[in-house]
Symmetry: C2
DNA sequence: ACGATAGGTGACTGTTTAGTCACCTGTCAA
DNA sequence: TTGACAGGTGACTAAACAGTCACCTATCGT
């Protein structure tokens, strides 16, 4: 029995965005992204220095999740490895997903306000 | 030992967005949001009809998570309860968070492409 | 008042996921 | 070549979460 089945036919243009959402859901991973904003192309140990509260393995695992979501791109540089932030998935998410919700429903929210006021 | 501590001083203007990210991370909850897009202001049982694979309690729990993230607004209507989609947190997320990442780093990505090509 | 229906609550269970560890591989400098 | 350093892997443990349940409260039609 699948736990997170599609439930209805086509839920949305989802699926591909799921890994991105899940990767973004963790504050630690967003902090990692922030660290790459400050200085892009950092190595693993460089990132570890910025996060003394996290072990190297913790950083590595979160980085792996971000990489699987295509939010960071890695590049070997001798014996170190550089990590670059890739904003493309975030941009796609904003374009396709957020636009789908935010635009048509700011109006709908206003309608709700009226409905609530009338009932209250 | 805190597991998800702030790690560095100020990670970002995060914190308030965490619940929104976490709520959006689940595909089931996004499907619930989609159902409200199709027909806003549905009752719990109405929503349950749209998700026969989920029990009433499952729908209710997900709805509670969405409500705590302020993504759905509820309104009592006699013995039923209407659920309205609130796009404001999504819009805020797009404005403050995504803009912060997506805009300055599409350029940075291009730089990365050059770096990768030169190394390869 | 009565039963039926809509919604709500608390505790329990199984799965997932984050965090940690010992150990391994590859690269650089001497 | 050899030691030191940067990164990687697999298994293990603990906490978080989704899913489920029996039971409860409130409202409607009669």
């Amino acid at each position: 029995m699948t736990k997170q089945s599609p439930i209805v036919g086509n839920v949305s243009s989802d699926g591909a965005f799921d890994v991105v959402f899940k990767a973004l859901a963790d504050p630690t991973r967003r902090a990692l992204l922030d660290a790459l904003v400050v200085a892009d192309g950092q190595s693993l140990s460089g990132l570890c220095d910025r996060f003394p509260e996290m072990t190297r393995f913790g950083v590595m695992k979160h980085l792996a999740v971000l990489a699987s979501a295509n939010l960071v791109i890695t590049q070997r540089d001798g014996r170190s490895k550089r990590h670059f932030l890739n904003a493309v998935p975030i941009q796609q998410l904003a374009d396709r997903w957020i636009g789908k919700y935010a635009q048509p429903f700011t109006r709908s929210l206003v309608d709700l306000k009226h409905a609530v006021e009338q009932t209250a």
